[in-house]
Symmetry: C2
Subunit: 330 residues, 2 copies
């Protein structure tokens, strides 16, 4: 499928994206560059990996999305801020402080300001909105909930929070299952539910994030998965796998350990009850025949903002096609 | 008075110093270099200028002393850490956060670690002791109290905390009086009182810090001024003024506004009820005749750790002389 229309036709689309960390943040950036109408793009971000460190509230996925949208992310390292320095971290080590988490000097400003505002009684969504305004971000970026939800990986070495699993244990323990502590009582962020019910919505995009770690925590919130299932808007997922591997992070390893096929069919299986289509990479073209929903094949590897823009365009184009087909079928 | 004895004779002296920020911290460094017997030097530091900023507990005078003793202070700038960078501060400005206080990246580690430990229930003296151990500091550095005391400058522009007066108002308002909120109910740190009562003590040194801002808050604590008055140990002050001017900071301006003579006689007047001697600079040699306590004239300007060591030596030598004279008089 080739898009012959100029990107401007997508600029006033109304889109809801569900998103986790780095991979998802890249597509969020592409969608943000494409949808130029302010307020028309809502990006709901996983907060299941949020944690406290040295008294700071750290929200890794929110930060990845905000830095990507503000063009402040480090593209080579793949996480954190560009032009980062580590002088505070060096001094923390001198003081014998906890230093397992790589706190960059520029990045610290985000944690300080957010923690300070949260401590003064603001909600995480208020703080996030304030920060996005300060950084000139057009899209509406919202945490999935203002209530704490914590993703727990149940492994052969016991129950681990994400940072424990990924940073301290270097992602080595075998994952047996996951749970999302607090998800049953957390309120999904009001703007997420409003956008899910928005009759003007054009598409819902599941970004190429880790399904179990980044997307499932959002789906675990009361009413979200059901709203996606019942939505008349095409829900399109972008596979985070290319050639059976994750571009970055532990997605492939975790899927394998959970006995989910580590390919496009596995991704479709995880989201089967609500997606209408799956975007897969050129490398996985042959998967298309085995995936249980319609697919579109394109380049999903995002090495640059231009790649991300193209993928965003292909994804919304695909959603248009699915919507048109649904209308014609009726 | 010339010291003909090698510095090693001072190395096992037991000394209590009262100290504020930058100027006092230099002499504290000199005393620390001189007194090599671990635990024999106790430096009590003013906490009246401590404040909260972005949820961090900032103790400017403790930090100046700790950085000076750990040889991590910036000598050219005169405050904060050497080799400092300001990337977090730049990013705080981008986020529209409060940025009037110059938070250095390396310095931030101190505030983060201290705030985190205080929030977890440790006392300021415990945290300070821990940090000093980590940085290999030989002297015992103690905050004057673990309870909050806040120095308030009553000015023609109203009541101001030190940072408001000095940083925000650039030290311009006219100071009419000072008060030390909380000093009446704060407990002086236990080690300060123990050292004041220590029969083995050789000298008590009032460092060349701002009398009103740095030393008076310590003296305002219950029992401290009285213990100094009654002490049999020679209490020696080092004048912070040279040629009627403060080396750094607002000491001269504040003394003038409070109608205290801005010279050695004024310093002697402030401490008159408890000092046995005053160390003054060569530039103020002619003041000696007018000062109401014995004086010693030496170079008090400390441009290097070597200068600070010499001043520390001259100060302890002077205390020895005063003690000897007192014995002979009896």
């Amino acid at each position: 499928m080739t898009d012959h229309r100029p990107p401007s036709l997508h600029s006033s689309k109304r889109v809801l994206a569900l998103c986790g960390g780095v991979g998802g943040a890249k597509l969020a950036r592409g969608l943000n560059d494409l949808i130029t109408q302010p307020g028309n793009l809502t990006i709901t971000v996983n907060t299941g990996d949020d944690f406290e460190h040295l008294g700071l509230n750290i929200c890794p996925d929110l930060d990845s999305v905000v830095y990507a949208l503000a063009d402040k992310n480090d593209r080579e390292r793949g996480w954190g801020r560009a032009d980062e320095t580590w002088h505070c971290l060096e001094s923390l080590k001198e003081l014998g402080a906890e230093s397992w988490f790589a706190l960059g000097d520029r990045d610290l400003a985000m944690h300080l300001e957010r923690s300070h505002r949260l401590r003064s009684g603001q909600t995480l969504s208020d703080v996030t909105a304030h920060i996005c305004r300060q950084l000139g971000i057009r899209a509406q970026v919202i945490p999935m909930s203002n209530n704490p939800v914590r993703t727990v990986l149940h492994t052969n070495e016991g129950a681990l929070a994400f940072q424990d699993y990924f940073v301290r244990k270097m992602g080595k323990p075998k994952v047996e299952s996951l749970s999302y502590t607090g998800a049953d009582i957390a309120q999904p962020q009001a703007d997420l539910m409003a956008r899910l019910a928005d009759p003007e919505l054009d598409a819902i995009v599941i970004c190429p994030s880790n399904p179990q770690l980044s997307i499932e925590p959002i789906l675990a919130l009361n009413g979200v998965r059901e709203a996606l299932r019942l939505s008349k808007v095409p829900v399109v997922a972008v596979s985070p796998l290319i050639g059976g591997k994750a571009v970055k992070g532990p997605a492939a390893k975790i899927m394998q350990e959970l006995e989910i096929p580590v390919d496009s069919t596995g991704i479709a299986q995880v989201y089967l009850d609500f997606i209408k289509g799956l975007v897969i990479d050129q490398a996985d073209e042959l998967d298309a025949a085995y995936v249980s929903v319609p697919t579109v094949v394109t380049q999903t590897l995002m090495k640059s903002p231009e790649d991300a823009l193209s993928l965003a365009q292909a994804t919304l184009e695909f959603a248009d096609k699915l919507r048109l087909e649904a209308t014609q079928t009726k």
